[in-house]
Amino acid sequence: MQVPAQVEYEKATSVEHALALLARYGPQARVLAGGHSLIPMMKLRLAQPEVLIDINGITDLCSINLTGTQLRMGTLTRHAQLLESSLAGEHFAILHDAERVIADPVVRNWGTIGGSLCQADPSEDLSAVFAALKGTMIIHGPDGQREVSAREFHTGPYETVVGPAELLTEIRLPIRRGGGTAYQKVSRRAGDWPVGAAGAAVWLSGDTITDAGIGLTAVGATHFVAAEAEDYLRGQQATEQTLQRAGEIAAQHCRPVSDQRGPADYKQHLARELTTRVLRRAVARARGLPPGAVACGGAASGGAASGGAA
C-alpha cells in the first residue's frame, strides 16, 4: 500500500486553537478532519502538506441543530451522522438521498461533510446539494466569522474560498415552507464517484414554482449550479414539459469533460435526464406525494422509458 510523505502533526482543542495553529504554520498546513479526502491524496503523494492540524477533538463542530428557520450542521459531522439524522432528513430529503450514495457505509463513519466540501472535488455530491439548497457556509478566520453562499464557495477544481488561515465551521440551510427536494446519481458501481448527479429543490405555491434550486455534480456546471435552469423555472407551472425544458437548459450550460467514467456527450445527456428526474421527485415531495408518483401532467413519467435518444 502506498504511504504518505513525512508530515508533522498538531492536535487542535478548539476553533481558536486551530486558527492559531493555522496562522503559525501558514499555507503548508492542512486541516485534518475525517481524513478520508486528504489522507488518500497524501498516500498517493498528490498532497504533501508539512503539518496536519487534527480538528477531530473539536466536538462542538459535530452537531446538527435546528435554529429558527435554519438547519445548522457543524462541519465535523460525519457523513453517517447526517444520514442517520431524522432532523436533517425530515427537512431535506435530498440530504439522505445524497448521503445514501456517497462513498460507502464504512467511509461514511469517519469522513466528514466539511472535509468533503473543502476537498472540492468536482465530483463531490454535497457541493451540488448545498448549492441547490442555497446554503450558507460559515468560515472562521483571524478576523472573525464570515458567510459565503454555497453557490460561491468553489473557485475551481479542488479550490475553495477558505483561506490557508481559515476554518470552515458550519453549513446553514434555510428552511422554507412548501418545498420538496431530491438527489439522484449515476455511477458505474455502488460507492463509485458519480458519472453525473443532480439535486433539486423546488418550492411551490399551488402549481406554480416560486423558487428552484438545481445543483449538478461531475458534469462541469459552474459552481455546481444550474442557474439558467433555475431562472427558467421560477414562475412556471410544474408540468412535465417545464421540468424537461429545465433539464435541457441545465445540460446546455454544462461543460463536462470526458474521462473513463463517461464521454462528454453522455454526461451532458445525464445532466438533462437527471435534472428532470430530480425535479419530478422534488415536485412530488413538495406536493406531499410519494416520490415515485406521477406528480404532474404532460408526457411520460419517471422510469426507464423517458427520452432515451439524444
Binding site: M1, Q6, Y9, L32, K43, D54, W110
Partner: protein, 157 residues
C-alpha cells in the same frame, strides 16, 4: 511522537512517525496481523477495524488520530477461547475462502448486528458494500451474517 491507545482492551504506548497509518501500526508495531490491507485508495476494506466501536478503514487513519481512543481488531472479537457468534456463523456458512477480507467483514457484521439484531438481506449487503471480497461472490458472507442474527436471537439453526 508518542501515541497511546487501547487496542483490544490493552493499552499501548509507542513512539511513531505521525504519518504512520493505523493499519501499519497495528500490524507491524503491535504484531496484530489479523487485519490486512489490499489497495491504495480506501476501496477494498481489508483493513476495517473498529475505532471507538465504529468500523473505519484503518488504512485511511493516521496513528495519532487514534490516540486516546479504543481500537478493536479481529483478535479482539470473541473472548479468549470462545469465538464471537459472528465467527461461528462464518465457519458454519462457508463465509470465507482465502480469509483475507474476512476480519474486516466480521467486524462490520458484528457492528451491524449490535445496532440491528434482525437485519434483512438488503441491510447486510448494504453494510458490507464498501468491502471487497474476491472469493465468495458475497452470497455466503450474507448467509453467515443472517445465520448469526437468527442464532443470537435464539432461533437456533
Amino acid at each position: 511522537m508518542r501515541v497511546t491507545m487501547t487496542v483490544n482492551g490493552s493499552e499501548y504506548s509507542r513512539e511513531v512517525e505521525p504519518r504512520l497509518l493505523l493499519i501499519h501500526f497495528l500490524r507491524d508495531d503491535l504484531g496484530l496481523t489479523g487485519s490486512h490491507w489490499g489497495c491504495d485508495t480506501s476501496n477494498c476494506g481489508a483493513c476495517v477495524v473498529w475505532l471507538d466501536e465504529t468500523p473505519v478503514k484503518s488504512c485511511t487513519v493516521l496513528t495519532p488520530m487514534a490516540a486516546g481512543r479504543r481500537v478493536t481488531t479481529v483478535e479482539g472479537l470473541g473472548n479468549g477461547a470462545r469465538l464471537d457468534p459472528v465467527q461461528v456463523g462464518f465457519q458454519r456458512c462457508h463465509g470465507l475462502q482465502c480469509g483475507f477480507c474476512t476480519p474486516g467483514m466480521m467486524l462490520t457484521a458484528r457492528w451491524l448486528l449490535n445496532r440491528n439484531p434482525d437485519p434483512t438481506e438488503a441491510d447486510v449487503r448494504e453494510a458490507i458494500s464498501g468491502q471487497i471480497c474476491r472469493c465468495t461472490g458475497y452470497e455466503n458472507i450474507v448467509r453467515s451474517v443472517l445465520w448469526t442474527a437468527r442464532h443470537e436471537a435464539g432461533a437456533g439453526d
